[in-house]
């Protein structure tokens, strides 16, 4: 429960008689973007640099946390539950106020941009939860992914359907009626529709069956090798480590270990405590 829910008295769930509790957001969408600054030389493609911050006026969740991904690479964040992985992703996407640190993308400092403008700047994001539009059809979900595009989207649409045939079958069905794993596929599909410059995925494989997970990882690898850097949070750590070019272990909002996936897998202590090996 967020700070604001506390402040404004989150009531019982029968409120639906006069209010519509579905689909409420947590991000302040009215925030205006600030100016874009120059980046630093030698920056990776996307970097959240020494970020510190938390939700509302609550305590800091992130402590001087740095996450980066290079062009054409896959970066994976792992860590215990509540470590701040999702928070770090949200911070990079501008969904919470950073108290320290900066976010830089493609040679520009975008710390002051609001999430909408980061989308326009080429970032695509699949949140961990609530990542579909439940009452819209699968196809409309995908169309919304392409909201900022003004070109013909049918090609991309077909690509996504090819990737997730189970979802293609249900393109006229409301996404809210899909099973957990199918929703996850729609969510990833939506982000791909944006044709982003960098793709951020928060536990894309949670709840998907092994076969789909493999396909998803395959696809992610292909995407990354195609030049689109991918930053993702994963709990299926062993598989994720296998494909990660770079891996971050977060503990209590701070970088605990960093290295290539192989390195971390090789580290016994890390494997036991964080990867469940």
């Amino acid at each position: 429960m967020s700070d604001m829910d506390q402040t404004f008295g989150n009531r019982g769930n029968r409120d639906a008689s006069v209010v519509n509790p579905h689909g409420r957001g947590t991000i302040d969408g009215s925030r205006k973007s600030g100016a874009v600054g120059p980046g630093r030389t030698g920056d990776p493609f996307l970097i959240g640099d020494s970020m510190s911050g938390g939700y509302g006026r609550g305590p800091d969740i992130l402590h001087d946390c740095t996450i980066a991904v290079e062009q054409g690479q896959i970066a994976v964040i792992v860590g215990p539950n509540g470590a701040g992985k999702s928070t770090a992703m949200k911070a990079i996407f501008g969904m919470l106020d950073l108290r320290k640190g900066s976010v830089r993308l493609n040679g520009q400092d975008i710390t002051a941009l609001n999430p909408q403008d980061r989308v326009k700047a080429g970032m695509g994001f699949v949140p961990q939860v609530n990542n579909i539009f439940p009452s819209m059809t699968v196809e409309e979900n995908l169309e919304m992914g392409a909201f900022i595009r003004n070109d013909d989207i049918s090609g991309t649409l077909e690509q996504v359907y090819d990737l997730f045939p189970a979802v293609a079958e249900k393109r006229r069905q409301a996404a809210g009626e899909l099973s957990g794993g199918q929703r996850q596929q729609v969510a990833v599909g939506r982000a791909l529709m944006t044709r982003p410059k960098v793709l951020m995925l928060d536990e894309p494989t949670a709840g998907v069956s092994p076969i789909v997970m493999d396909e998803l990882f395959d696809r992610i690898i292909a995407i990354a090798r195609g030049g689109l850097p991918v930053l993702m949070v994963e709990q299926n750590a062993q598989q994720a480590m296998n494909i990660a070019d770079k891996a971050y272990v977060l503990v209590q909002g701070a970088n605990a270990h960093t290295g290539t996936g192989k390195e971390l897998m090789a580290n016994d202590e890390v494997r036991r405590t964080f990867l469940g090996g």
Binding site: V19, P21, G29, Q116, P134, S135, T194
Partner: protein, 335 residues
Amino acid sequence: MDILNALVAFLNFVFIPAAAYGAQLALGALGVTLVYGILRFSNFAHGDTMAFGTAVTILVTWGLQAIGISFGPLPTALLALPFGIAATAALVLLTDRAVYRFYRVKKAAPIILVMASVGVMFLMNGITRLLIGVDEQRFSDGTRFVMDVRTFKAMTGLKEGLALKTTQVLTVVVAMIVVWALFRFLNRTKSGKAMRAYSDNEDLALLSGIDPEKVVRMTWIIAASLATIAGVLYGLDKAFKPFNYFQILLPIFAAAIVGGLGNPLGAIAGGFVVAFSEVAVTYPWLKVARYLFPGWEPEGLLQLLGTEYKFAVSFVILIAVLLFKPTGLFRGKSV
């Protein structure tokens, strides 16, 4: 002949008035349901928004009439309508800015917005009265009837007359156009889809690059337009009196709920359900029965329940509908 008479009596006293009233309720309910679906609260100020929009339209109408502009057989108010809509849109955008936006930014529980709308209701209530007073105002002009009773009787030779008012036809036609346009907008256009997306999942809409404030503004403008159109049509058909616009809130909410709050299609169906149940269930069948069964002189009026209970009856029907159709006529957002 007698069957025709019975039919005409039924059309004249039940069908036509209920259809017009239903269309008015439907337009009102559409506004309520839109705000509920997208801004996530029941807007108790909607009735007074209707009143405000109508009041402005009336003032402009008077102005137009004073300088001699008219709209031929149609009411001049239609020409004034755009001004009314503009003023109302400005007012609701202002209220949004001054009141609702604060809570939206703070992510307050929506019930706070409901209560804020009660506050806004009080305010608008007062503003409208300051603007135009509390008295009943009439502002319909142009041709009153498409078909009046006398002409009809002369034309057909029937004993029963049929009246069709311009405003009734206008109400139904405008309602149909507005509904059609709204649906096209919501289902076909990018902006409309953005509104639906925002309604479904605010955060994700944001992450898809949709500007939430724009969606909110658009919603308010549409809601204001719907409110003004509904209010003006209602005022043309009946009469304008600020107090009545508060009272109409109740049937409007009933219509929106029975149709499934948050569902535009439901709002329309709900409007007609409420209107027809109010008028039809308390209709005394005496007259119709006399035509259908000549020679039969029943003692009472053949009325199921007195008109005093018309509203009660319509509620009982609504609840019955809901009991047999637990998802509402159409599935709402609040399942």
